[in-house]
Amino acid sequence: MIQSVRGLLSALVCLLVIVSVNFFLPRLMPGDPVLMLTGLEDDLVSEAEYRMYREKLGVDDPLYAQFGRYVSALLRGNLGYSYHYKRGVGDMIAERLSNTLSITLPAVALSSALAMLLALYAGSKRGSAADSVLTGGAIIINAVPGFLIGMLIITLFAYKLGWLPFGGLASAAPKNALTDRLSHLVLPITALSLGAMPGKYLILRNQTAAAIDEKYVIYARARGISERRIRFCHIFRNVSQTFVTMIGLNVGFVLSGSLIAENLFSIRGMGQLMTASIAARDFPTMQGCLFVSALAVISADIVTRLVCIAIDPKVRLGVYETE
């Protein structure tokens, strides 16, 4: 319980720090905050326009008053306005977020499921041919850069075999929107899954390989429990904390970490929006993206902590705290 409260408090502090950095950065950087926030060119903006924006942004008010307005707007879900795109930042992020999540969440689920199945199998068969092949394969994939995996997949399935489209999330005029969308999702999800799988596999495989000599496993075998049940119900339960933490980290970083896949497969997602906003020095959009990413990382961290507490009786019952 105390751990949960501590975790929540530290998450809140982190969020507050990020919100503060987000707010103060464009205001404390050298240069005019009005030009910085609007992206206007000082020799193109008229005096009247400049005054209008200065008043609108309230930059003449004390910093604490501006900060209060900023936090209050965030609490209302208002992430600001991009003068570069001439659109609300929240609207743009919502539009891009759904695209990013449509490839990253399935990729996290798929890579986790694959990593879990293969790692438990290979770990429990430590030293076998299957273990060598799977672990060797995972190390090789882990060593290959993400963009290369993506290009290889595109070359094979889109170019050579012609089974799947090259990119985008839809055809210009799809006959069936659902199948069309699914066919466009396959390659980016596969590329992302392959990139995310080896790390989780290698950690879980090593933990499983170490656990098979534990007394509780020998005892379970002596009781005549099937190997499959030992793997999934006994070993996995004991080694799952690290695995769950890795999935949590994956979920947290999927918002910003899918840039390579978005670029290769021409998907207008969060990674692309962040890159474009940095290139255009569009501070409101950068701030919005950073806030949403931070929120995702912190939320994933909280959920991970809660899941770890739920699955580990030692944590749940406060054994570590009493020790």
Binding site: S98, S102, A172, L264
Partner: protein, 544 residues
């Protein structure tokens, strides 16, 4: 375990279904021309092409006149500029015919029967409105200032310049006419509704923007005065990765690749040569493909001997070999590419390290054997070279330049910068010492032409060469005020001789744009502004 797996599978499918429902197609703003009569093929008339997909590496955003890429593509389909430049750099009538007797007063007459896509006739008032409207927008683009704009009648307008300018019409080749009846009263055109933003008077109407597919779709406008174009539907499709774009062409998922003022890279062109069903089409490039520009107003670029030393130290053969296509040619000291109106022959640029050292010695530099950095004015002879980070090949140019100049003791220090900072420096602060970049054909022809807009420090804010020399300014004024083509050609020749004598900038090589398209397509028309994609192409293109 089975339950866990089933749950994961269900979650995956649910997400996929959810994603499938999130189609963000922008609805069509005009009815599709499905009712349009289909012209059947005859021996004289080639079969109509139902659809062409054009791949591009440019981003496609929500369409608007303010969105650069939409504006460029609409210029090839949706809009009709008053005039265009043909492949031989000749100005030709498009939306208007033109006449002048003194090159100061230009009379434009809208061609008979030209209408906006809502059926309203295009008028002389629209031309006047467009010019005045653009002048009020804070776009930062150079606007021509007219002494007067007189509407003579419903179809004829008279543009009166402050002084004669024989090349004035070249500045109208990218003018996107605006319908007065739509935009009158709309203070900021970027806030206009989509239907208003996309109305044009060209042979195609805007149909839809699909954010998920990353496409713009244009459909043939049945009532265009030239009749139906040869292609019913034109789709632009954006790819973020050039590698994926090239593969898509090889797999024939797209019909051609298009880049405004560009083509496919030399390496990709080599690859396409061996691919099935792809044709490469070289288009004469009147832009300056790769240039080394000194800031002529800052040391050491303000020293003519240093500039000449740099020009002689560059290995042009290597640039030609490493970066040029098979159609690339050596550049000349006159800086202005072949094919430019007013081009004259000047000496070809060649490498001569002995001469480079002579010029360095004349500048007072010592230690130019290339073993260490030379000394100049009591300090190491170092030049900061600004390089844009968004175009990777510029960094490769910079690396070769660094190796070349090091051989005579000149040190190049790179300032790799993002685009906003590049613009800040080139358009406002001018704090750089030199830069490596490209000058587009349109940019080279702006203002006085001959690239003077880029080179003069006394004219536009975008004077990247920062030449403050009165002699050069005198030439620019002659170019601007030429009262006849003969006067202009004489000033153009003088300008190129100035470049050759003073080397304010160096053209590293000249090249052609290599266009890659499906071998099934043929009959492209080349335009001096847009290359092979232009309004005329839609009436000449055929499918074999």
């Amino acid at each position: 375990m089975k339950k866990a797996l089933s749950l994961m599978l269900a979650l995956f499918l649910l997400l996929a279904v959810f994603a499938g429902c999130a189609n963000t197609n922008t609805p069509a703003v005009s009815p599709t021309p499905s009712e349009a009569p289909v012209i059947s093929a005859t021996p004289e008339q080639p079969a109509r092409i139902s659809q062409i997909i054009i791949g591009t590496a440019a981003d496609l955003e929500t369409p608007s006149r303010a969105v650069y890429n939409f504006d460029v593509y609409s210029g090839t389909l949706l809009q009709l500029a008053p005039v265009y430049i043909d492949a031989n750099a000749e100005i030709r009538p498009l939306a208007t015919t033109f006449e002048t007797s003194d090159y100061k007063t230009w009379r434009l007459t809208v061609i008979d029967g030209l209408t906006w896509h809502d059926g309203t006739p295009v008028t002389a008032d629209d031309i006047k409105f467009t010019i005045e409207y653009n002048a009020l927008q804070s776009t930062g683009e150079a606007q021509t200032t007219y002494e007067a704009i007189n509407v003579i009648n419903s179809s004829t307008v008279e543009l009166v310049l402050p002084a004669a300018n024989v090349r004035h019409l070249s500045s109208l080749t990218t003018l996107r006419l605006m319908p007065r009846h739509i935009f009158e009263g709309i203070e900021d055109y970027t806030t206009a509704a989509l239907e208003q933003q996309v109305i044009g008077c060209g042979p195609y109407k805007f149909d839809s923007y699909n954010a998920d597919a990353r496409t713009y779709t244009f459909k043939a406008y049945d009532n265009f005065i030239w009749g139906q174009p040869n292609v019913d539907t034109v789709i632009f499709r954006s790819f973020d990765s050039v590698d994926t774009l090239n593969l898509a062409l090889k797999a024939h998922e797209i019909d051609m690749i298009y880049a405004y003022a560009g083509g496919v890279g030399a390496a990709a062109a080599e690859d396409f040569k061996t691919a099935d069903g792809i044709t490469l089409l070289p288009v004469k490039d009147s832009s300056n493909t790769a240039v080394f520009v000194f800031n002529n107003n800052t040391a050491p670029g303000n020293d003519i001997n240093i500039r000449k030393a740099v020009a002689y130290a560059i290995d042009y053969d290597k640039f030609h070999e490493l970066f040029g296509s098979e159609y690339s040619v050596h550049s000349t000291a006159g800086f202005v590419p072949k094919g430019t109106y007013g081009y004259i022959d000047t000496p070809e640029l060649t490498r001569d390290l002995a001469k480079a050292r002579e010029y360095l010695a004349a500048a007072g530099a010592t230690g130019t054997d290339g073993v260490t950095t030379a000394q100049y004015n009591g300090a190491p002879l170092s030049i900061e070279l600004m390089v844009r980070s968004d175009i990777p090949v510029y960094e490769r140019y910079a690396e070769l330049l660094k190796a070349n100049l090091a051989e005579v003791g000149i040190e190049l220090v790179f300032n790799i910068t993002d685009v906003p900072n590049f613009r800040e420096i080139t358009e406002k602060t001018h704090t750089n010492q030199a830069m490596v970049t490209k000058f587009t054909a349109f940019g080279m022809s702006m203002g006085a032409g001959m690239g003077a807009g880029y080179m003069s420090g006394l004219g536009s804010s975008n004077g990247q060469g920062q030449i403050m020399d009165e002699a050069f300014d005198g030439i620019v004024q002659k170019l601007k005020s030429a009262a006849s083509p003969e006067d202009y050609l004489a000033a153009a020749a003088e300008c190129q001789r100035y470049y050759a004598d003073n080397m304010p900038a160096v053209a590293l090589f000249w090249d052609s744009y290599i266009q890659a398209h499906s071998s099934e397509l043929d009959g492209f028309t080349v335009d001096g502004t847009f290359g092979i994609l232009n309004v005329n192409t839609w009436y000449s293109i055929i499918k074999k």
